[in-house]
Amino acid sequence: VGPWCQLRLWTVIGLQSVGGGAATLSLMFRTFVDRRQTLDAAEFGRDWGLAQLSPGMHVLSMAVLLGRGLAGWRGVLLATVGLMIPSALLTILLTGAYRWASRDLGWLDGPLWGLVPAVVGLATAVSIRQLWPLLREARAESRTALVTAVGVLVGSVAAFLLGLPVVAILLGGAGAAAVVAGLTVRRSEPAERG
């Protein structure tokens, strides 16, 4: 993918992302998993998980990871510029217009209400679409890997409902899965040698 094409892709994703980060994530999934096939749904899910570890906007972290995968540092720069600058410029213009106008935006109540379920529905669809390949991959690996993946999924839901901090849930789930994966390989190694 050439630099201009990358810049255009990110600009289009940014400008179509009305309704927030969930919409941006759906557009990235559609662009890079469905249309361009630069990575599969499971890889997308793992990158999205990694993006949660960085501070600030997670969708921008995700764009940075995808850009890096496309073209290294140049891809990172193009993803950041394409996703942020045109949208930021439009945000500033809208802010200026808002300050200048009467501020009566009551007519936007209906469309804004309709956007919320649309964005949530889209984000749920992305979650489902990246969840199945991850589970399929775990099942192909071993029964332990599948049980661990399902355990982390259910455990993180329970932990969130109990009010634990999100960062602790993410690191706890990932850490537990890492320990299980490490121990499983250690146990299977002597058996393979034998």
Binding site: G14, S17, G19, G20, A23, R30, R46, W48, L50, Q52, L53, G56, M57, L60, V64, R68, V76, M84, S87, T91, L94, T95, L105, G110, P111, W113, G114, L115, V116, A118, V119, V120, G121, L122, A123, T124, A125, S127, I128, Q130, L131, L134, A145, T148, A149, V152, L153, G155, S156, V157, L161, V166, V167, I169, L170, G173, A177, A178, A181, G182
Partner: protein, 174 residues
Amino acid sequence: VELELFGILLRSCLLTWTGYGNLPLLRDDFTARGWGTDAQVTDALLIGQVAPGPTGLWVVSFGYLTFGWVGGVLALIASALPPLLVLLAARVRDRLAAWPATGGFLRGLAMATTGVGTVILPLLLVDASHRAGAAATFGLAAVCCLLGLHPRVPPWAILLGGATLGGVLWPRLA
């Protein structure tokens, strides 16, 4: 003032997670210095919702409302820098890729992210359902989810459809 402004904006984006995570820090810092008001915060949040792009761009609107173009540009730079730290995490991941524990960690992280999202996403509908009824809100979300599962239905069409339907139904539902 510009250097102090940039420092405050960068700190608020660096020490918090997600697009709205920096809201309490920024609000406190700006109002304490007399640089901004609660009304400007609310205006910026509203514009951030209407404008395209990631939700975190509300900071750009806030920067512009309080310090004009300089504020807007400094806010854009400050919010674009912290996510680059993910490259460090990616580098560590690449170095440790051969370890079986790394694969487990990444899958666990993805599963935990999905699990937390499973709870957060319906919660986002609660406020909207208070305003226009649970049946319409959750029903529209379910339809959009089904459409979203189909790779051929473009996301922009779903978003546009949701907004249009919202505009049409709002007088009857609200």
